[in-house]
């Protein structure tokens, strides 16, 4: 049985072009870009090239890109690095951020900073007006994600950037899910800091980047050597960085074509599920969403048992974000869009990319239907509700 991978928002495999680009690094030459000798200079050239590719994809300048160990480090650095430099103050964010942002903000609250977690509407959208209303005299930072990792909703970061510029406030966006899928120009959109991750783009895990606008200062998160212009110590992850450079270049080049292809598959999957499965609902904005994201709630059944049966049928999916699955609580994002607990427990996230096919989408819809029926047959909620009783 050929397996179907629909969990690309958790991680996608290495793209063959990325593997090819990483070949010279894997060939085994010593690669420390800080070394003066020829080996070092060759590494430095690869590092510079990758940095340029990342900068180009974001409309940034080369010196505004700092490589990190991934999206979580970039988020932590942006938020804590700025807060610690200021020493005190107020931060504005949303209730539906990734835990890398939420938990960084919560850690700062324990240090005495105050944080406003803006609510979102039923589609998961926050508005620039909400951000503007939340600004206080002591506000030091606004951080709002570009695209939600669970429900795929695209936030109005350009409008939020405009508000932040007007109030001369630094604006950070966690764009881990958006980069490569949504056109971003950090200068045109007034973005001061942006986090991205390699493994969501077809590069390896363990590499990411933080864009920091020229002139914006941050306290270092990792002190040590003079790498990354003295701002992020540690010998560079050459394999990851070279892979990230190639992956982001590919994603940018193919963005238009991939988006059109993925959006068509996504909508086919959404329509198929809503047509075939009664009492299912789409989570997130119907159109203002990532091209590869499908998130539905299927009533009367629970997400984990659904995932296990889908896996048995060869379909890899997730329920909420992978980071949430260790917990028993339903996703904070689904609760923030107003879903009751019992419905949030039945969420299913299917995230596709340009390597998925229409045949896979059709098979997924066909496999899902009997699995849902089977679990509903077993569910005491199903017949109860059909019999006229209300859910607790």
């Amino acid at each position: 049985m050929k397996r179907i991978y629909l969990d690309n928002a958790a991680t996608c495999g290495l793209l063959p072009e990325v593997v090819e680009a990483m070949g010279p690094v894997l060939a085994g030459a010593p690669m420390n870009p800080s070394s003066v000798h020829g080996f070092g200079r060759e590494a430095r050239a690869l590092l510079d090239e990758a940095r340029l590719k990342v900068a180009k994809a974001l409309g940034a300048r080369k010196e505004e890109i700092f490589f990190t160990s991934g999206g979580s480090e970039a988020d932590n650095w942006a938020i804590k690095g700025l807060a610690h430099l200021k020493g005190k103050g107020h931060i504005i964010t949303t209730k539906i951020e990734h835990h890398a942002v939420l938990h960084a903000c919560q850690a700062l609250e324990k240090e005495g900073f105050s944080v406003s977690y803006l609510p979102v509407d039923e589609d998961g959208l926050v508005t620039a007006e909400q951000v503007e209303e939340a600004i206080r005299e002591d506000t030091i930072l606004v951080t709002v994600m570009a695209a939600n990792n669970e429900i795929g909703t695209l936030e109005p970061i350009e409008e939020i950037g405009t508000v932040c510029k007007k109030h001369q406030l630094p604006f950070h966006t966690d764009a881990v899910q958006a980069v490569g899928h949504v056109a971003i120009d950090v200068h045109a959109m007034n973005i001061d800091m942006l986090s991205l991750s390699g493994h969501k783009l077809g590069a390896p895990q363990g590499v990411g980047a933080l864009y920091v606008r020229n002139g914006l200062r941050l306290q270092n998160l990792i002190d040590g050597g003079a790498q990354e212009r003295g701002k992020r110590a540690g010998t560079e992850n050459m394999l990851g960085i070279v892979g990230l450079g190639r992956a982001i270049e590919l994603a940018t080049e193919n963005m238009e074509r991939n988006n059109a292809y993925e959006t068509a598959l996504r909508d086919r999957l959404i329509q198929g599920i809503l047509r075939e499965i009664p009492d299912a609902r789409l989570n997130g904005h119907p159109t203002r969403r990532l091209p590869g994201n499908v998130n539905v709630c299927i009533r009367y059944i629970e997400g984990e048992s659904l995932l296990l049966l889908l896996d048995m049928a060869g379909i890899a999916a997730s329920s909420g974000s992978a980071c949430t699955s260790g917990s028993l609580d339903p996703s904070h994002v689904l609760l923030a869009i107003g879903l009751p607990h019992e419905i949030a427990h039945g969420s299913l996230r299917l995230t596709l990319n340009h390597l998925n096919t229409q045949e896979e989408i059709d098979r997924t819809i066909a496999e899902l239907k009997p699995i849902v029926e089977r679990l509903r047959e077993m569910s005491p909620l199903f017949n109860q509700e059909k019999g006229g009783c209300q859910l607790v």
Partner: protein, 143 residues
């Protein structure tokens, strides 16, 4: 994450369904926390002749329901009263720590159904009868 036995009982759950005019029915858990178990008992001459369940929940919730029904089917009331969540978990070759509360739910559902049977038949509760307390607000590390 799950043992083969858990997966077997999850994939092929035993005794799924309902019993009309059951001798005892017990429902525990709530949808808010992500699991509800309902157990139906048919009792004849002090022996559990049939048992069925319906469960809304994760793989472990379904597997523990299935295993618990198997363990009490054909047993006397007195024997069924001895069933513990630990025995259910052991019969499944163990459960991940965060899923131990599922086995507690299974024990609780059985005890609720037995209590219902005692009440319906105007029988006194056996001496020392107790139901496990499932606190849904806290994760059960061990039970």
């Amino acid at each position: 994450m799950y043992s083969e036995k858990v997966m077997d009982h999850f994939m092929h759950p035993r005794n799924v369904g309902e019993i009309e005019n059951a001798s005892g029915v017990g429902t525990v858990g709530n949808a808010k926390c992500g699991d509800i178990m309902r157990m139906y008992l048919q009792v004849e001459d002090d022996v559990i002749t049939d048992v069925k369940f319906k469960t809304f929940g994760c793989g472990a919730a379904i597997a523990t329901s299935s295993m618990a029904t198997e363990m009490v089917k054909g047993k006397t009331i007195e024997e069924a009263l001895q069933l513990t969540n630990k025995a259910v978990a052991e019969a499944l070759d163990g459960l991940p720590p965060v899923k131990m509360h599922c086995s507690l739910l299974a024990e609780q559902a059985l005890k609720e159904a037995l209590e219902d049977y005692f009440t319906k038949n105007n029988l006194p509760l056996p001496e020392g009868f107790s139901k496990p307390d499932v606190n849904h607000d806290e994760e059960e590390e061990e039970a």
